[in-house]
């Protein structure tokens, strides 16, 4: 490979601005008092404080996992502030009362928190640092009995649902980062779709980290009652800062009998600069539990973060349940991603489908890590895994770690993998037809990702494609 695929320059991160706003930020450090303080600030019922404390005590006994294929300096958990909320005279949660500066921030991000201006058919919950600052279309959703609100509000208004489902898919003891999140989570989104209801619009949460040296620990809980349907999308950005910031989120999905949940992520946290200074450490636990005849589908487009460590998974608990995972993960410059999924087949006739597309450019390292496990009772379980990697340039890496375990001999498991390299010849072909090198790369890459993009809601498929173009801009000179 000659000159054209050598030059690597990073494009300016367009969401890298920060908003100057008075915030109520607690000092860095973590102990039981901090956990109590967070719970008190949010006016939580005793069961939740107890749960947080159990998680914290468990976390103290755990050690940070280092089995993933990423390297980073040790995180000082005492140097992080665990709570930051925009200070405002009026109560949060009402769009009319929203601080104009925060409203401006979301406008700049292209997420207007004004219902008339919003994309038709998308309700948004905006989370700024640790707290939800507003949810749109609430009244409209209420007519269908749908609850879509901040986690904090759900704790106040629907404590029974929270108590029943919180930790039912990802227990506080699940892993180091999930335990940390369970102890200190500040806010997030809550969704409940009643029996037989098809949610009439896309639900979306937009996460924004603003304050410096804080961690963001949000929690999302989605409960789809029997026979219901919901499609949910999350997006994320953060300012450019030279220090690494920790993001340890937990997402739990419960799909009761005959329910369908589609969860899409476009993750664009700040990735750090070309030398790898700054950027978000994205250590996230996402898991769904699928009951009889239900379906949980994860689609993710991961373009940001210095480090990504996440494995959106499905526990196929009920008979005939389906789990899907469609992923595009892009690393450029010094980014590292270790991502994939776990499909745990417990029920009979359970099906899982995994399509993973990894793109590596610059000095980026991209690992797919996927587990397919068929339990003894899971008669006729089926899995299909397709895992493709694309390399741009000579300094990046792509790695695949499949773990396949079948304890029932009626299982059918297929795994296909491929690795390709964007060639000088492909780029030259498109240039000869009048396209620039960057257009050429963007076209080749979006073709490579097509199977995943087509799973995204239409409004976001285009956004994801553009984002991919921006992330890879400058990866080919």
């Amino acid at each position: 490979m000659s000159s054209a695929i050598d030059q690597l320059v990073s494009k300016e991160y367009q969401y890298g601005f920060s908003t100057d706003i008075a915030a109520d930020t607690i000092p860095p450090g973590l102990n039981e008092d901090v956990v109590r303080l967070i719970s008190a600030k949010k006016g939580e019922p005793p069961f939740l404080l107890e749960w947080r404390l159990k998680a914290f005590r468990r976390w103290q006994q755990m050690t940070e996992p280092h089995w993933s294929n990423v390297t980073y300096p040790a995180i000082d958990y005492q140097a992080v502030s665990y709570y930051s909320a925009p200070r405002t005279a009026k109560p949060l949660g009402s769009l009319d009362a929203l601080d104009p500066k925060i409203r401006e921030t979301y406008n700049k991000l292209g997420i207007p928190l004004n219902e008339q201006k919003l994309l038709a058919g998308v309700a948004v919950d905006a989370v700024f640092d640790s707290v939800s600052v507003g949810t749109t279309y609430k009244e409209e959703l209420k007519k269908h009995g749908i609850i879509f609100c901040s986690f904090g509000e759900a704790v106040r208004e629907h404590p029974d649902l929270i108590e029943k489902y919180l930790g039912s898919v990802v227990p506080y003891s699940d892993n180091f980062f999930a335990a940390l999140n369970s102890a200190v989570f500040s806010d997030g989104s809550f969704v409940y779709i009643p029996k037989g209801v098809r949610c009439p619009m896309e639900l979306s949460t937009y996460f924004r980290i603003n304050a410096a040296d804080t961690g963001q620990f949000e929690r999302t809980l989605i409960v789809a009652d029997e026979g219901s349907y919901v499609s949910y999308l999350e997006g994320c950005t953060a300012p450019k800062r030279s220090t690494n910031q920790l993001h340890a989120a937990v997402v739990e999905i419960v799909a009761l009998d005959n329910a369908t949940v589609k969860y899409s992520t476009v993750q664009n946290w700040y990735a750090g600069d070309e030398q790898g200074v700054g950027g978000i450490y994205n250590f996230v636990t996402k898991r769904g539990k699928a009951f009889t005849n239900s379906k949980i589908s994860w689609t993710q487009v991961e373009t940001g973060s210095a480090i990504t460590w996440k494995y959106p998974s499905v526990i196929l608990q009920g008979d005939n349940s389906t789990g899907e995972f469609y992923s595009v993960a892009v690393v450029n410059n010094m980014q590292q991603a270790d991502t994939g999924t776990k499909m745990i087949h417990i029920g009979r006739n359970t099906k899982s489908n995994i399509v993973s597309k990894g793109i590596s450019a610059g000095k980026g390292q991209n690992s797919y890590r996927g587990q397919v496990k068929v339990m003894p009772r899971a008669e006729n379980a089926r899995n299909y895994t397709q895992c493709d990697s694309m390399l741009i340039g000579n300094a990046c890496g792509a790695h695949t770690f499949p773990y396949i375990e079948a304890q029932n001999n009626t299982a059918t498991i297929e795994h296909e993998a491929s690795t390709s390299k964007i060639g000088e010849d492909q780029i030259f072909y498109l240039k000869q037809r009048g396209m620039s090198a960057e257009q050429a790369v963007s076209m080749i890459v979006s073709g490579f990702c097509r199977e995943v993009f087509k799973e995204l809601p239409m409004e976001f498929a285009l956004e994801a494609q553009q984002l991919l173009g921006i992330t890879l801009e400058g990866s080919v000179g």
């Binding site: 000659s2 000159s3 054209a4 000088e424 010849d425 492909q426 030259f428 072909y429 498109l430 240039k431 000869q432 037809r433 009048g434 396209m435 620039s436 257009q439 076209m443 080749i444 979006s446 073709g447 490579f448 990702c449 097509r450 199977e451």
Partner: protein, 253 residues
């Protein structure tokens, strides 16, 4: 339109083109023939700007511009088109989207408005007839899973869409059966205009029965060793290339 003067080019340390001179005027069809390894495809690739070749000497003037100083996409915008000997596959990208993007890039560079997908479809419907291709072709991924003949027809389809001033066909006839050859040649002939020129790189005389050249040049050992009219192609067919290999280099026509 095109003036090549004493062009030298290398692949790595190996010199492939050793001083090519050739002038192509508007309205003309030039055939470049020659044995394997003579530098025919290298010449085509160098004219299109492939980065794998290093130009070590000489000049190429295209419509008064220094062609060698232009990026490949700028050459495309200026009307230079290369029909590839081995068309490249782009999985997951539909032929329609690929061609519309190319079409609009060339239009933008010429200060024209972009066309939307619906209008483009109308344009394509016309162009498809030229190469006797089905509309289903538009939804398939670029060259992926195409047969050899389909790939070559797809190249001519792109040529029809982009309407180049200077078309370079690099062994477009290789791997084509007689029907496909006729379709491809008809397409090329219909696209010929008094203000355009065509360079046909070929191994065999067969294609030249359909695309009749005004000039035939024989390339051997990186040099043009003989130039003549269309009858030269027939002579080559009968006598092969060996008799030319010892002759001194002719001046390009």
């Amino acid at each position: 339109m095109l003036v090549i003067t004493n062009l030298h080019a290398n692949v790595g340390d190996k010199e492939i083109l050793k001083g090519i001179s050739l002038t192509v005027n508007a309205g003309e069809v030039h055939a470049i023939m020659g044995p394997n390894g003579s530098g025919k495809s290298t010449l085509a690739q160098v004219l299109a700007g492939h980065p794998g070749y290093e130009v070590t000497g000489g000049t190429v003037e295209y419509e008064g511009q220094d062609l060698l100083a232009m990026e490949p996409e700028a050459r495309a915008h200026a009307g230079v088109f290369l029909a590839f000997q081995y068309p490249i596959e782009i999985p997951g990208v539909s032929n329609a989207y690929f061609m519309r993007t190319a079409y609009n890039e060339v239009r933008k560079a010429r200060g024209l408005e972009e066309v939307d997908p619906m209008d483009f479809l109308d344009i394509m419907t016309e162009k498809l007839k030229l190469v006797e291709m089905d509309e289903a072709m538009l939804q398939r991924s670029v060259n992926s899973g195409f047969s050899g003949g389909e790939k070559k027809r797809n190249e001519i389809l792109q040529m029809a869409v982009l309407e180049p001033k200077l078309a370079i066909l690099d062994e477009t006839d290789s791997g084509l059966d007689i029907d496909a050859l006729r379709i491809v040649a008809n397409g090329v002939n219909k696209l010929k205009r008094p203000d355009t020129a065509t360079i046909v790189v070929t191994h065999y005389q067969r294609l030249l029965e359909y695309i009749v050249p005004d000039f035939v040049h024989v390339l051997a050992g990186g040099r043009i060793v003989k130039s003549g009219g269309k009858e030269l192609a027939l002579e080559l067919e009968a006598k092969g290339y060996d008799w030319l290999l010892d002759e001194p280099a002719a001046v390009g026509g």
